[in-house]
Amino acid sequence: MIMAFDRTDIAVLLSCIAVIVSGLFIPDWMINQFMFAFARALAVLGLMVLWRTGLVSFGHAFYFGLGAYAVAIIDNQLGVTDIFLRLIVSIVIAGIAGFLLGYVLRNYRDIFFAMLNTAISMVLYGIIVKTEALGSTDGFAISLPTLFGHSPEDKYPLFVVICIIAAACAIGVNFYLKSTYGKLTTAIRDNEVRVEYLGFSVAHAIHVKYTISACLAGAAGSLMAMSLGQVDPDSMINWTVSGELVFITILSGPGSVLAPFIGSFVFEILRTYAFEWAPQAWQAIVGGTLLTIIFFLPGGIWSLIEKIFGRKS
């Protein structure tokens, strides 16, 4: 198998290095913004793969929440603090859930696909809210992650890990999107009958994409939980979280694997400043921004970057 790096991969690597280095000079609150943005962007990356296939999930907070709660539970019950171990557990749990539910969801399209995902996520939300052992509405606090047995003093090492994982996932998804499997995203959106008649199972292709998106959302939830240091159902599993992820997906645009990271960061900054300027009406500012994007940049922020730099990825 030949794995050649293309312009997008190089851009991802360079941006990753630039952000990691900049982390040495920027203030702590900015580091937090990057961590939240990049963690969330991983889930958006998965939604982008689905979106290219013509599928919008309005319930990926389910996998995001599974990833986050997996960290909380293995921390509180078993005392697992290693950042990578936590991450792997989250991905495996979200991946298995996505793989199993994929058997059902691969048969649905459009609004049915979107809302079935919401329904599943709200079932989990309901269970957690009503279950004392799962923290109910209060959730759990999570201890600081450790890295290979070391307990870092500040958040910088976690920030570096998030950047590296984000870059690795972006390159992985880019590689996937370049393969025959990946190119089938638009093909499936355009014409499922033709794909079947070319000899490829649409259900299988969608199942794979769905499982990938579940794993990415699980990783996102895991990193988000560790960045925040706590989990609770409203900030991890509620439908508003799913909505936020779809929001960022549209804001970012499906043009490149870099888009979710830029879009997610813009969203984070936008929300922070909107909240600072207009604590009572920050949603109106965020909503207005989305409307502006849909009207003037239907290809999302990425299409603006393409226009400025005149490149296509």
Binding site: T180, A187, D190, N191, E196, Y197, F200, S201
Partner: protein, 259 residues
């Protein structure tokens, strides 16, 4: 006449939709290299037959054997992989992509089955092969155009070209010339049949145009209400009184005198 084993053996094929009988005990042997025209009025069961052979519809009963292998119960994609492909009356292409992207996806699927589908798709070899296909179907000038702006005729050519990319041994064409102007239809069929001859593929095509039937096929199957009412060489078939009455629409002599 033909001593070889048939490539496609259809026996006792039935398909009913409630009270409607779309396939009424169809029995056909197709031999390799034949070019067969399927004629019949709308609703006679022609497309239903193609849909059953390609696994899109499951027959109520009966058997369809391709090179000795039973096809009934197989999924569409498995029928394609085993060597039967089809085109559509309304072309089924990827409308938001360019012509060359359509071809390259079809090529990539055909050449990268299973885990190989994870290999990067873009490669020089692939693009050369795409150009070869475009050349063969006279579509080179449309290479980078989006399918959404193409005429019906070019879309139909693309549809057929994509169906042939998996190198089928049998190709079923559903009304290849529908939507194509009278002036262009022969030119269109010449391109298609010329390209197919190079691939050595057995062709069955549904057609309403009797001029096309007379010119390109070696055998005609005439459908009427799910039944095959004639299975003959074209000249004989087109003169068959039943065919004239039920397919072509000319009342045959008996009913004329009776009236």
């Amino acid at each position: 006449m033909n001593t070889q084993n048939p490539i496609l053996e259809v026996s006792n094929l039935w398909k009913t939709f409630g009270a409607v009988v779309a396939a009424n005990d169809i029995n056909i042997d197709v031999h390799a290299g034949e070019v067969i025209g399927i004629i019949g009025a709308n609703g006679a069961g022609k497309t239903c037959f193609v849909n059953m052979v390609t696994g899109y519809l499951k027959p109520t009963s009966g058997s369809i054997k391709f090179e000795g292998q039973e096809l009934v119960g197989k999924a569409t994609r498995d029928v394609t992989i085993s060597g039967i492909s089809r085109s559509f009356q309304v072309s089924q292409v990827f409308t938001t992509m360019t012509v060359v992207e359509n071809i390259s996806i079809a090529l990539a699927i055909a050449e990268n089955r299973g885990m190989a589908a994870l290999r990067p798709m873009a490669s020089v070899a692939l693009s050369e092969k795409c150009d070869e296909v475009l050349e063969r179907y006279n579509m080179a000038s449309y290479r980078d155009q989006s399918v959404s702006v193409l005429s019906q005729g070019v879309r139909k050519l693309l549809d057929i070209a994509m169906a042939v990319i998996s190198k089928p041994r049998i190709l079923l064409l559903d009304e290849p010339t529908s939507g194509i102007s009278v002036e262009e239809k022969f030119e269109f069929m010449d391109v298609v049949m010329g390209a197919l001859r190079k691939d050595d593929v057995t062709v069955l095509f549904i057609e309403h145009d009797m001029e096309i039937i007379g010119r390109y096929v070696s055998r005609v199957l005439a459908f009427y209400q799910g039944e095959i009412i004639a299975d003959k060489p074209p000249i004989e078939a087109l003169q068959d009184p039943k065919v004239q009455e039920f397919v072509i629409g000319k009342p045959h002599k008996k009913s004329k005198t009776g009236a």
